[in-house]
Symmetry: C2
Subunit: 187 residues, 2 copies
């Protein structure tokens, strides 16, 4: 899905508006394992993934990585809270593959939000969608067995689950790598 299609799927922008909006994005290519933002930094850009994939993660006190979210093709990747409030991020943002991204800065988004009422609507709808997804993951994590969580993951991110290291998925699902490995082999 292209960025243009993505925008249209939420709000009926005119072609003129779309052109103006799209001009504010910069196409960038990043290599696998590139860190787009680190913990503690303010997230200055938000990225639309045209090709590739990414994840957000944080470090526990013991230093272990915990994957917080996966981002597939055709979605926006960000530390949403950090970006929209321009506050320090709790998360790292990492490319999990060589990726093609469309980046836009906070300043430019602000300008677009001020200029186009529809842009506000777009971001609002996007936020509500993310909220629903995070809430749904929370419900899955909270009261399901390791096995059920794994199945949930496969339905939510069917393309991602077999493309990234086991440990990333395990921490995303709130279980150890060993447990996930055992579940997979008794599938």
């Amino acid at each position: 899905m292209t960025l243009e299609d993505f925008l249209i799927s939420y709000v009926s922008f005119s072609q003129e508006e779309l052109n103006d909006i799209l001009e504010n994005f910069t196409k960038i290519e990043v290599a696998k394992n590139h860190l787009l933002i680190k913990e503690g930094q303010v997230c200055k850009n938000i990225y639309f993934i045209e090709e590739g994939m990414g994840r957000s993660y944080y470090l526990k006190k013991d230093g272990k990585e915990v994957t917080q979210w996966f981002f597939g093709e055709g979605v926006f990747m960000s530390s949403a809270d950090s970006f929209f409030k321009q506050s320090p991020s709790y998360y790292y943002l990492e490319a999990l593959d060589d990726s093609v991204l469309y980046s836009i800065s906070y300043g430019k988004i602000e300008t677009l939000l001020a200029k186009y009422h529809k842009m506000e609507t777009f971001v609002r709808l996007l936020s509500i969608d993310m909220l629903a997804k995070v809430a749904s993951k929370l419900n899955a994590i909270q009261f399901q067995t390791a096995r059920e969580r794994y199945d949930y993951m496969n339905s939510e991110f069917p393309d991602i689950s077999y493309r990234v290291p086991l440990g990333h998925i395990a921490s995303y699902l709130g279980m150890t790598q060993e447990t996930l490995s055992r579940i997979r082999h008794q599938a």
Copy 2:
């Protein structure tokens, strides 16, 4: 906190705008245990809690209630996804005390969103805030012990935790009532 103060704290509405916006809300009083919405219904209104408190919950297949969120004084209570997308709600919404609420319908919100660019901004910021809170709960639930989750709850909802039945809190925290009871008594 009044609704007016709440609105101003997010966006600098003019007094005129505020008056217009506030006119669209209806003050209602509901008794303890009143259900504002049931699972499967489309959430037609969103409620600002001036006095009282509420929660959202859902039923597991085995019929047990799981508290999904608590709403204290001075916040909006809703099944956000259901309200903003006018889709069936996964959750019940219940008053946990006799409460004074300011209610607004989806139709009226839509009108205000279309009329005031600032209103879109307000809802966007509100959504991002909720997103951050849900994400933070998710992190707490996912990798903390029962004891740590209880402490997290006390910092997040200090006023609520001792005002509602134990079972509501336990399910909110993803543990059994018995476990929560034991934790409390070894505090």
